[in-house]
């Protein structure tokens, strides 16, 4: 059962990019979510080939992925904010650099858990702040007629649900994976949350309407 959910989640990671390309005339390729969609597709391919088939040590991948994950999501939320909260975003970028350096310091190719916890916890905090700022702007401008037909609502919801639902897993990741021999029982939370994230991403892309600029 775990294998079915795992591989479904893994391969569905390519779907957002496929949707974006097959409907490229109708969708906005300059949308700030596009780098994250590329990252998701590349991560899917790497995890299948690099981790699954070639059995390359995942510790390197986790560390690299955290960096690209932050950069793509930072780009998404920063552009979404229309550069209003520049100071807050610059501060968050500096904090990320600091936390990433700390995670690099504690990282080793045999133990990824502490650095993964540091990266993911900072990432979660960043998402909570960015989501709050997005809703603040939303309520300030009151421009969108129906949120259910708005692409960014799906993207923001996807990130918020994913990072909120996996917050405990990453917070206690170090403890959980140390005491348990059945790691997949816990990791399943991340797999299910990722599945929801990717489904919401596809729904968001489906709702993308190309503006003139």
């Amino acid at each position: 059962m775990y294998q079915i959910i795992f591989y479904t989640t893994l391969f569905i990671g390519i779907a957002p990019l496929v949707v974006l390309f097959t409907k490229k005339r109708a969708f906005d390729k300059t949308h700030p979510i596009v780098p994250f969609i590329w990252l998701t597709a590349i991560a899917t391919l790497y995890e299948f080939t690099g981790t699954g088939l070639l059995k390359i040590n995942t510790n390197y991948w986790f560390q690299f992925y955290s960096l690209f994950e932050f950069l793509t999501l930072f780009y998404f939320f920063y552009r979404l904010s229309e550069y209003i909260y520049t100071l807050i975003y610059r501060t968050l970028m500096l904090l990320f650099v600091a936390s990433y350096l700390i995670s690099l310091f504690v990282w080793s190719d045999t133990d990824k858990l502490i650095s993964m916890t540091i990266n993911k916890i900072f990432m979660s905090c960043f998402i909570f702040i960015a989501v709050y700022l997005w809703f603040k702007s939303l309520f300030k401008n009151v421009e969108i007629l129906n949120l259910w037909k708005h692409d960014n609502f799906y993207f923001v919801s996807a990130f918020f649900i994913y990072y909120f639902a996996t917050f405990l897993l990453f917070l206690f990741g170090n403890v959980v994976f140390d005491i348990s021999i059945y790691v997949t029982d816990y990791w399943l939370v991340n797999v299910i949350a990722t599945l929801i994230l990717r489904i919401l991403l596809i729904t968001g892309i489906w709702n993308m309407k190309k503006p003139l600029r």
Partner: protein, 138 residues
């Protein structure tokens, strides 16, 4: 083993609660937002959507957009008050190309001047809501 089993159950329950809370927060916020939007506009979202559907052109032929993406951009910036040179600068094309686009659009809509083209674009709802909002705020 018992200890680990209990830990696992607590972990799954808490993760489920976290998921439910995230979903609840989003549902609550979207509901509040739609209420605020409806209050500002004096109508519910359903009524506003029905109104938008009613105002749309009836046939597919009427809603067909004869303009290219670039031509739509020329109309957009012209409505914003940009001259041909400024539009050319904005779109990184030559002034001559902008004028050619304008001529083509006049031919397509059988308009005597460019105001006719703008009228055509607006009455046929060729702009997205986002673009119209930008024009209104200008």
């Amino acid at each position: 083993m018992e200890y680990e089993k209990a830990f696992k159950v607590i972990f799954w329950v808490l993760s489920g609660v976290m998921f439910a809370v995230a979903l609840g927060v989003l549902m609550f916020l979207q509901s509040i937002y739609h209420t605020v939007y409806a209050k500002i506009n004096g109508k519910t979202i359903t009524e506003l959507e029905e109104k938008a559907i009613e105002e749309q052109p009836e046939s597919a032929e009427q809603s067909f957009n004869p303009f290219s993406e670039r031509e739509m951009e020329v109309i957009f910036y012209t409505i914003k008050g940009y001259g041909a040179v400024e539009v050319a600068d904005k779109l990184k094309i030559s002034k001559r190309t902008v004028e050619r686009h304008k001529e083509n659009m006049k031919d397509k809509t059988d308009s005597k001047n460019f105001t006719g083209v703008i009228y055509y674009a607006l009455t046929n709802r060729l702009f997205t809501d986002k673009d119209l909002k930008k024009l209104q705020n200008h």
